[in-house]
Symmetry: C2
Subunit: 143 residues, 2 copies
């Protein structure tokens, strides 16, 4: 279930398998880093309408197929969820890294630690984003 095919994922979630939905899943899973909405639109904009893309992404987030990481600029980035995610709950418990140079969002292996939340507040999800310079950019910038 770790690397299910796009069609399997759609079946598991009772979603009609349209070519647009398959393209989006293929494209996002082909990428090592999370993909931003603008990048997706740029790449798929000729095959898929802007609005459809937004709707597909929202459905995927709701179903727990993708997780959405909003970066410092307020831009939405998308990455495939681990199999532990569902429509009921996201278990996107790893740290993200947002490069302030290239703007890419990376999923790090580091897990989000337990956080002690103030009495009275009911936390349902935690987002931990580190900002700085990514591996590739630090090479380029020091040259």
């Amino acid at each position: 279930m770790a690397n299910a095919s796009p069609i399997d994922i759609l079946k598991q979630n009772n979603l009609k398998h349209t070519k647009q939905r398959i393209r989006v899943l293929e494209d996002i899973s082909a990428n090592a880093t999370a993909v931003s909405q603008p990048a997706l639109e740029k790449k798929l904009g000729k095959e898929i309408d802007r609005v459809t893309l937004y709707r597909i992404l929202n459905t995927y987030v709701e179903k727990g197929i993708l997780h959405r990481i909003v970066d410092q600029n307020g831009t939405a980035n998308y990455a495939i969820c681990s199999s532990a995610c569902s429509a009921e709950q996201h278990h996107d418990e790893h740290v993200h890294f947002n490069c302030t140079n290239c703007n890419k969002v990376f999923c790090l292996a580091t897990k989000v630690p337990e956080i002690n939340i103030t009495e009275g507040f009911k936390a349902e999800a935690i987002s931990l984003i580190a900002y700085g310079i990514c591996k590739e950019c630090s090479k380029t910038l020091t040259l």
Copy 2:
């Protein structure tokens, strides 16, 4: 230096003290929670031009006077920095709580723990946002 007046803050940062800048600081510090850009604009829109507001907020973030918390929707929220912040570095090391019901952003007392970042990535700032239902909304929602 903990609760410096708007004018003091401007002096300390070599910023001209205009009535617009003072209003923004007054308004944000009057609030217990972080204030969103839309809320600020709604409140100050008749005294301060939209564009000026954006520019003031950006200068304040650059100078380390305010910190910006981007919530799940990509909306910018602003809160007064602790005195430890400067133009060189933000020490906004506490956890934020973003209510998914009323959208307010709270600064919690909880500190952000040490995070082990993957080799090669250079983290400069950490943002830890918990999403869920805030104190007030949990009261209202259970009624």
